[in-house]
Amino acid sequence: MAPRFTPPPAEITMLEGGYSILVFVICFILYYKLRSIYKLTEYHGLHYFSNTFLFLGLAYFLRFIVFVFTHSSQPEFDDFRNLLIFSIAFMVYSSSASILYLIYSLTWRITEIFRNEALLHSLAILLTVLSLLSRPGSTLLIQAALLVVLLFAIVLNYKKYDTERKTMLGRIYPLYILTFFFWILNLLVSFRVFIPFEFRFLVYGLSILLLLIIAHRVLKKIG
């Protein structure tokens, strides 16, 4: 008899699905609004910034797919395994591209390198391959390393372009870091690392809150 794919309990799947759809919708609204302003101005920073949310939304959606696969009873057949690997690869690629697009949006005015989108996607593919070939857990480490690079990009951006002399904490930067920090925490849940249920809810709640704060600030200005 052929092995059967058994999904996780329905209520958990619905919760995860609802959460992923909500995050995806917030990210898509942000992408759509930013894109419309980019079309009007053709300002590169807006292009990179809008793509940050396109890929972040995609990464959250793919995280849900990975969640369903990893929390299902896993029959030992190749098709299932291939689908899981394929989903993880796309999730890591989308996540890396999202962080890299944010880094680009903060640094593109400093050097021409950060205007090369082919390089960005090549890097994202390279990081995906590295994640898949390395030991389990390396995905989280690679994403955390990207977060450190993002931190450097923020410091560079602040030093070069801050004209209002606000402190770093008084600007949007902490929201960038927290959004992707919570994204990495979201990844933890996908990889079946033991996480208490209350902590999972806290992570989900705060992830949505952070995106809503960003959406509010974006829509207040250009909505």
């Binding site: 302003i37 009007l40 101005t41 053709e42 300002y43 920073g45 807006l46 990179y48 910034f49 949006s105 903060l106 923020i154 951006n157 602040y158 372009y161 004209t163 209002e164 600007r171 949007i172 930067y173 600030r217 974006v218 200005k221 250009i222």
Partner: protein, 92 residues
């Protein structure tokens, strides 16, 4: 500190502002001079602004060409400050 090279967005805004500050009607030659662009770049920007519907050409009785802002151009000027603030606030 003043940036050495104006960004595209800033150039478009400057051109539109110059037209408005001249009673929303200006001849090409003074606009070219005040916009501080090369003739080639000026023509490129004006063609784009006309194509986007921000600016239109009008001719007087003597056949002289003037540039004037459309409603869309005025809306862009209003929105520009918000976009600029947004770009600065988000470090883009």
């Amino acid at each position: 500190m003043r940036k050495e090279r104006r960004e595209r967005l800033e150039i478009i805004y400057d051109i539109l502002r110059i037209i408005v500050s001249h009673g929303n009607s200006i001849l090409p030659t003074p606009l070219l001079r005040l916009s501080n662009l090369s003739t080639q770049n000026f023509n490129r920007y004006m063609a784009e602004l006309i194509e986007k519907g921000f600016v239109r050409e009008v001719f007087d009785e003597d056949g002289k060409k003037y540039y004037t802002l459309t409603d869309k151009g005025f809306k862009f000027i209003q929105k520009y400050n918000k976009i600029r603030e947004f770009i600065e606030e988000f470090g883009l």
